[in-house]
Symmetry: C2
Subunit: 501 residues, 2 copies
């Protein structure tokens, strides 16, 4: 199958099977950058979040949730009001709005636009007489466009929808510090919506205007960053690293590197930051991504956000969009608490070590996941079109090879003949028992058995159970395995225990 056809099949599948719908609201034509999750997509998302929450409890994290709306002063302090800005070109005649850097990069593929100043971009526009692609009017100055959504609450308070969860977590520092009772580092995460008024939303759910973030934070002392107990347990782990010098040498494939080597050769400066890299990688691997799809790519110094001392993207190799970032790991230093301390007139200096006189503003290390991007990359990479024994009707099958814990349905139960009441009622009972045992079972009788299997393959259901005439006689059913398509008979009373293990 050609890759273009496969991508088309995939894009149709994620709508047809209820994973992702949009742009939303579809019946009103859709607003660019806004999507909805259907039942299969939400089940997948909930499974991802459950795994993350369970694992992070094990790693000692607490969870918080803050408002998605914050007053202007918060974003003044965080730097977002002044710096969370895209350069734009606006047509003076037809009002077409373009993101200047992206537009110029496409116009001049051989130039490096990233990192150019506004003046340099303006020079480029003038020198080449760049005009509006819609009405051909010459472009003038580069403008500024703040990516935050603004609104008013109450009697005239200017507020913004948060562009990230992280800042809202930092504002809780005094509370978290009290809650932690001097057990450092403080480990906390927040999951929730963030908003960016993208000029040109694109790539489906990869660049939306409203999206999920799942951001982990360490509040840690300078000393602990360099001598971090938990690092000792994981320092031999190999991670697929692509540092910025490798990128400067035009390499794009990562190299499996032990963390302690990355520390000793200076690629990474701090053991605690290396631990964050490990944790981001660990949480990615348990979702079923394999090493050949993962790389950790370091930002070059000019690519970093305004708050970062070191920054890496954890990226997944997709079929449709190449390497896609699903997680960013950032050394934010004491930048955030320093800024908020200044604006809120709070002193965030605390004693984090054994000496109570030695006070410091905590450093922040961050691991920021984008759950929408996790969902997209899981579907993209685990989607397969298999050629099977070529008969007239069924020469290929679509299958989503989602892990057991991720699949929307763990098992589906079918009656071989829905018009045979004894078979139907036995199948329904088996389904009901599974549900009572809190196993995610799905009952289906709408269609012939081949069609029922195909539908579950497309949803990534690992097991299908079929009840037939033999079931009525010997209390067994057929269980079919999604990946191998093998079938075997299993005793009905053993189904629950079989699925639980």
């Amino acid at each position: 199958m050609k890759i273009e056809d496969k991508i088309e099949t995939f894009n149709s599948l994620i709508k047809r099977r209820g994973f992702i719908w949009g742009p939303s609201p579809e019946i009103y034509g859709g607003l660019a950058g806004f999507y909805s999750y259907g039942p299969a997509g939400m089940a997948l998302k909930n499974n991802i979040l459950s795994i993350f929450r369970r694992e992070l409890r094990y790693f000692g994290f607490g969870e918080v949730e803050c408002p998605t709306i914050m007053p202007e002063i918060v974003w003044k302090a965080s730097g977002h009001l002044d710096r969370f800005i895209d350069p734009i070109l606006k047509c003076s005649k037809c009002a077409t709005l373009l993101r200047a850097d992206k537009f110029l990069q496409e116009a001049f593929p051989d130039r490096m636009i990233d990192g150019m100043s506004y003046e340099e971009m303006e020079q480029l526009v003038k020198a080449n007489k760049i005009t509006c692609p819609k009405c051909d009017t010459p472009f003038g100055k580069i403008g500024e466009y703040n990516l935050m959504l603004k609104t008013q609450v109450g009697a005239g308070n200017t507020v913004y929808l948060r562009p990230e969860t992280a800042t809202t977590t930092y504002l809780l520092f005094n509370r978290l510090n009290q809650d932690a009772r001097r057990q450092y580092p403080i480990r906390v995460f927040q999951y929730g919506k963030a908003y960016r008024n993208e000029i040109s939303p694109r790539q489906q759910i990869l660049r939306m205007r409203a999206f999920d973030q799942f951001e982990l934070q360490f509040f840690i002392s300078k000393e602990q960053e360099m001598e971090f107990e938990d690092y000792e347990d994981i320092k031999d782990t190999l991670l697929p690293l692509l540092d910025w010098q490798m990128q400067d040498n035009n390499l794009s494939e990562p190299k499996m590197t032990p963390l302690d080597k990355a520390i000793s050769n200076g690629t990474l400066k701090k053991p605690a930051f290396a631990y964050c890299m490990y944790l981001g990688y660990y949480l990615t691997k348990i979702l079923g991504f394999t090493d050949d799809m993962i790389r950790l790519r370091q930002h070059s110094p000019h690519e970093r956000a305004h708050y970062a001392d070191d920054a890496w993207d954890l990226e997944i190799k997709t079929n449709q969009f190449g390497w896609v970032e699903i997680c960013g790991i950032h050394d934010r230093t004491d930048y955030d608490l320093k800024c908020h301390g200044k604006f809120a007139k709070e002193n965030f200096e605390i004693a984090m070590g054994s000496d109570p006189k030695n006070k410091e503003i905590p450093q922040i290390l961050e691991i920021a996941f984008g759950p929408d991007r996790i969902i997209y990359t899981l579907l993209d990479t685990l989607f397969e079109v298999e050629e099977i024994k070529p008969t007239k009707k069924d020469d290929q099958r679509i299958v989503l090879k989602l892990g057991l814990e991720l699949a929307p349905n763990t098992v589906a139960v079918f009656p071989l003949k829905k018009n045979e009441e004894r078979i139907r009622s036995l199948a329904k009972n088996i389904h009901k028992k599974l549900i009572e045992n809190r196993i995610n079972s799905f009952y289906d009788e709408k269609g012939a058995i081949g069609k029922l299997y195909r539908r579950q393959d497309e949803l990534g259901t690992p097991f299908c159970i079929t009840v037939d005439f033999q079931s009525l006689e010997d209390d067994t059913v057929t269980i079919r395995y999604r990946d191998s398509m093998n079938q075997e008979r299993i005793n009905i009373p053993e189904i629950s225990n079989f699925l639980k293990k």
Copy 2:
């Protein structure tokens, strides 16, 4: 203990133990109507959501998630742009903004303001020469204040933050109908944020400007509303009903009434709606609320929202705020799909019964929970201050009697002496084993044993395990039960199995 003292103790506890913090952001003085959940509050919330999701799968529901931002036309069609409005009094001199109906109700406790027209309220203001409470300037006309938060996306699209999740679910109808493959009613729910620009946010997290909704929807035919298969299984259930005629007779206590009696005497019109009442009640009971704290209160005809043919509030009797609505059950008829059909130029008529020629716009029945209110009412009603054997130091204990599945920690593990390394290391190992078995264990060594118990009582932890010298000899630990405070010895290898059951 006096009730006022108990309420003060409670309000301090929910902050001190990390349940609810705010108004947020606290370090910037806080914005009225916005709150944060701390680690204990989030753990409780996640446990509630997990129970709901698991149960609703059993009841045949799928879950969807839609954008929190929708274009203006959506709210024009839904009626929110024209009718989601509060009457206000605005001072022409000092700009003080008051919600007119609430303000007048307080000024005239004996008059029934609810249901008055704007003209009637204006009459009342004039006749009594009502003035601004801040600067004494006479008030003039009643104004209108739309409760939706407005912003712009892209190049000038006017959009609103959704005031409810329900409408966004309805816009998915075509997709959901395809997904359901003619299995009616369609059962679907959505959990997420909604926003209301309340003029005077109050009562902590009960009336916020940003809040959670968990809204269940049935898309159902008129015929199915009257002949609903699932109703037969539950029609004998007794529900604590307070219909509007009882309220007209000044009754406030509900009467336990079998659903089929409520149907036969005309209190409820439709068996499918009675089933919704049952489902709302069932989901409330499994969280641990008891019948003496629950009532289902019917809206009087003039109290209903613009879309409702019948409406009931499921309310919980709290210590601090009296009866508090945690769930609304609404018969929305075909109002919503009719409106959106008209504005989006879609025909939502479908064949839902056996006759494919008989097409109709589906009716919608809704069960709308407010998770923040569930959290508040659980904490409020399950919070207890117990007098225990009066010694000098410990004459009372604070305890949260949260159900096993709801408590932020299932178990806490303590070393009796943290300086005794063998005890400490055994305690840590027990904790680690529990976590590896995915049991929500919490390890604590910061404080004397009495203090450790008190902290866990305040968090609602059902079990505490203490490791002592005897543990080193005979492989047993002390397990203490939160509610009875009884203690017994248990073999270490049996802890996990004991807690799992």
